[in-house]
Amino acid sequence: MERIINLNVNHECYEVVIHSCESLLDVLRIRLRLTGTKKGCNEGDCGACTVIMGGRAVNACLVLAVEADGEEILTVEGLAQGTRLHPLQEAFIKFGGFQCGFCTPGMLMSARALLDENPDPTEEEIRRGISGNLCRCTGYVKIVESIKEAAKIMSGGDLHDR
């Protein structure tokens, strides 16, 4: 069955015709061509598709598009402010928080949701905050370090004083 839903993605409003069985992930990737959000499994197991919906990190592959009707959604494409990268993005670059980069958009969104809720997380909280996101490349060490450093600058510290 076809339906029309309204989405606010990265502060832009979309009216989208969808099939009732379509996932939010497919709507983002196929209908809106926002391919930054990745599909690693389509089964809710890898976190590559993590976006922020209504302030919470969700696996977009598990959200039916109809459930997202009227919601505000933030994807990796909306993380930077204009031409300025988000501190998380800067930190991931500086500290090597990615290798192949395929898990990175999902990691960043999980990290963003974590820092929104808890601006000064401990290392353990960071590790727990990204425990729904698989990474096959990095062993998570530099991802955790990147998030830690981003938290520091976001709370006024400096990314460069280390």
Partner: protein, 789 residues
């Protein structure tokens, strides 16, 4: 070029240059340079194959065998063809009937049809493919294809497969033996007779999946000009180009392969896969682009995986721990096809001698066909298996002899300029220093709480393989450097970055050689019609092989620039020129110099307006059978064993790894940390569970990878070496790091609770069972006492 390198270094430092010193004289190398493709990867703007859409593009799906072994009697595609939205269907009849394989010279090793014609040989073997207007429609069509099979008895275990009368997976392979390998030096039997102590042990190494986060995916577009363009997630665009051309009956030059940013490889994207063949076949039928993306389940069941191995080791030593002889017998589960598996068989035999000096050594390996998913290359390429078994056994040997595990390793350690008889020439080797560093680390950790244990394992690995399996007439690696009028440099290389950082490494090497900055270099990779031929990313070859090619190309361009600068600076003939930090200067009198940018402009003007082009290439010559260089290291892992559940917790890990001059510490650490994650998974829990050849856990719910909270703190212990064969003294730091972990963890578990697990993974059930058995055995003497008294 290599000799040039050596003189260059010795001139500067009288031949006494270590990696540590090398960092000091470099302006780019050794610095923590962020990845050159970082901005696109953190913003979602890196376009992977799975992200691409072409105008008029169709979506494909592949029908796969549900049986592990069956004859195809009939394929009826009528009903599927009639489904609205379906545009084309291909089956084995649409192929040329050739068999694919990487060893193009050896027909019997080319054994994989691109769509099965007569027989399917594993659950997942491709039988037909559909192109339709969208994925759902293609999926629906698959269900409408009627395949009549005659199910045959399958053989799913290599030991069973070698028995007389076992079902034949391929008609040509007697007793299902795909290939066997023998390596031998010294006089093994005589040496065993002289040993004070001999141990014989059996081990089993389980299967592991690459589990790249980006599944296998391809878009093929065959045009009305009869030329094929393919975008694919792969580890060598060159292999894909020539093997596709061969299998499809096209000229190599009419196949252009583009490799967009690639979401992981680890060996899994080295063999060609069904998305590449099927999308091409479909596109050729339609002259429309066709995209095929594997589901996670397909990625698990229908690609390739790490080779399971049955190991039997005999090790002989003198009382003082000197290892005199080793005999290795291995049977590997080949799965249905050869893939890159023949090399895994050879390398596991070679690396079973690592990293020690065995005067007498014998290896016999058999790779056996079974009706299971093919086994092939995976990070470490046979070496993690060799070193799990070898490093477990050497600890047992040490205990038998009453020697410390560090001491026995030190006594037998490879050293610089050692020759593995008939096999390999080792130049730089920092293993003794790595052993020292780990010994210090263990002392520093002090006494451990109960049920904690530290295990160590030593390892080594190659820096690229000397195997011309594809039978290419081209150099193994090549590069082109183009200097433009504004001083910006275009670097063209066929090197493949699947995440391991090759892009950044090569840009750094180029910038270092030319005396410019990293952001002066624009990198062009991943397109067979633009980049020089390259064998791709395997065997940890990129830093050394591509690095040498890039360095040579940059040096060639630099030489041309310096010729113009020389005319201006008019140095005395005995002074030579160099470029550093955008300044062309006299090496002996750095204050005399001119701007690099001015020299570039003059050079181009003086060259009739032509850009400056430098060319470089690298092929190892006279470097033994395996590799031009080897890296070494030792890892120590501390674990805590829960004796109630058998669960092994990772507490701390330290690795002393020497990889010659460190090009980029961020990259090196990232490789180390990532390798540990993969290898710890291999050691403790990653395992493809099978029943009758069917993989039972093809998803991340049932095939688990370690998560961020599971990972221990990790420490890198620096050991400096300088590899004369490598660019600026560098060598591998990629796969080798996967080798020690399983052995170190098994040793740690033993040291923690006294149980020795000899088959991977070291799962809680196995630990628990072993603990129970140990308990029973410890009770026995009491029982005896009671009985006799």
């Amino acid at each position: 070029m290599i000799d040039e390198d050596k003189t260059e270094i010795t001139e500067e430092d009288e031949g006494d240059l270590t990696g540590a010193l090398a960092h000091k004289i470099h302006t780019v190398l050794g610095k923590r340079i962020p990845a050159v493709d970082g901005a696109e990867k953190v913003t979602g703007t890196a376009i992977y194959t799975v992200d691409m859409t072409l105008p008029n593009m169709l979506h494909g799906k592949i029908l796969r065998s549900p049986h592990s072994h069956a004859r195809i009697i009939r394929i009826d595609t009528k009903r599927a063809e009639n489904l609205p939205g379906v545009k084309a269907i291909v089956t084995g009849k649409d192929t040329l009937g050739k068999k694919n394989g990487i060893w193009r010279r050896y027909a019997e090793l080319c054994d994989e049809e691109i769509l099965c014609r007569d027989k399917v040989r594993y659950v997942g073997d491709p039988v037909a493919a559909v192109a339709a207007i969208n994925e759902d429609c293609a999926e629906e069509a698959l269900a409408l294809i009627d395949v009549t099979y005659e199910v045959l008895p399958g053989v799913h275990d290599p030991m069973d497969a070698m028995r007389k009368g076992a079902p034949q997976v391929h008609n040509h392979a007697e007793r299902n033996v795909n290939i066997n390998r023998h390596i031998e030096w010294g006089d093994v039997d005589n040496a065993f007779a002289r040993c004070d102590h001999i141990r014989e042990d059996s081990f089993f190494c389980s299967s592991q999946h690459h589990a790249c986060m980006e599944t296998h995916a391809t878009i093929a577009s065959f045009g009305y000009d009869r030329k094929l363009t393919v975008w694919t997630s792969c580890q060598s665009q060159y292999y894909v180009q020539i093997l596709l051309a061969g299998m499809l009956g096209l000229r190599e030059g009419d196949v252009r392969v583009i490799r967009p940013p690639t979401g992981g490889g680890f060996g899994g994207k080295l063999s060609l896969d069904s998305t590449q063949f099927c999308s091409s076949l479909l596109s050729m039928k339609l002259c429309r682009p066709v995209k095929i993306v594997m589901t996670r389940e397909e990625d698990f069941i229908a690609t390739k995986r790490r080779t399971p191995m049955h190991y039997r080791l005999k090790l002989g030593a003198l009382k003082d721990g000197t290892l005199l002889a080793k005999e290795v017998k291995v049977v590997t589960e080949g799965g249905a096809y050869t893939g890159m598996g023949a090399t895994a068989l050879y390398l596991t035999g070679f690396f079973s001698s690592f990293p020690y000096k065995y005067p007498n050594y014998r290896y016999d390996g058999f790779r056996v066909y079974t009706n299971t998913e093919g086994t092939s290359a995976m990070r470490g390429f046979g070496a993690p298996q060799a070193m799990f078994c070898g490093e477990s056994q050497i600890d047992m040997m040490a205990e038998d002899l009453g020697i410390d595990p560090i001491t026995i390793r030190r006594r037998n350690s490879m050293t610089p300029n050692y020759t593995v008889p008939g096999q390999a020439i080792i130049r730089s080797c920092g293993l003794p220093e790595c052993i020292d560093a780990i010994e210090k680390y263990i002392k520093k950790r002090g006494p451990l709480p109960s049920n904690h244990g530290i295990g160590v394992a030593a390892y080594g690995f190659m820096s690229g393989g000397i195997f011309n399996w594809i039978d290419t007439p081209y150099a193994f690696a090549a590069a082109i450097v183009k200097i433009n009028v504004d001083g910006k440099v275009d670097l063209f290389t066929g090197a493949v970055d699947t995440g391991q950082g090759a892009n950044t490494t090569l840009v750094m090497i180029c910038a270092e050689e030319l005396g410019i900055h990293v952001d002066d270099v624009r990198l062009h990779v991943g397109d067979t019609s633009v980049c020089p031929v390259d064998l791709g990313n395997w065997g940890s070859r990129t830093t050394l092989m591509n690095g040498n090619a890039v360095k040579m190309a940059a040096a060639d361009a630099k030489r041309q620039l310096l010729a113009y600068a020389s005319a201006q600076l008019k140095p005395n003939i005995v002074y030579d020129l160099d470029i550093k930090d955008h300044r062309v200067h006299l090496v002996s009198r750095p204050e005399r110099g001119i701007s690099y940018f001015e020299v570039v402009k003059d050079a181009i003007r003086g060259n009739e307006g032509q850009v400056i082009i430098g060319r470089g290439h690298y092929t190892p010559h006279r470097k033994g059978m395996i590799s031009p260089a080897y890296s070494f290291g030792v890892q120590a892992v501390e674990v805590k064993v829960d004796t109630d559940t058998g669960k092994v917790e990772l507490v701390h890990v330290a690795t002393a790894h020497e990889s010659g001059t460190v090009v980029n510490p961020i990259g090196l650490e990232g490789q180390l940390e990532g390798a540990f994650h993969m290898a710890a998974g291999y050691a403790l829990m990653e395992e493809l569970k099978m029943k009758d050849g069917k993989i039972l856990n093809p998803n991340f719910r049932d095939y688990k990878l370690f998560l961020a909270p599971d990972m221990p703190e990790s420490e890198v212990l620096e050991v400096d070496t300088y590899e004369p064969e490598g660019p600026f003294g560098a060598k591998e730091a990629g796969e080798g790091l996967t080798n020690p972990t399983a052995g170190a963890i098994a040793n740690a578990v033993y040291n923690a609770v006294g149980v020795r697990i000899k088959d991977l993974p070291v799962s809680p059930e196995k630990v628990l069972r072993a603990l129970e058995e140990k308990c029973l055995q410890e009770e026995k003497p009491d029982d005896l006492y009671v009985a006799t008294s």
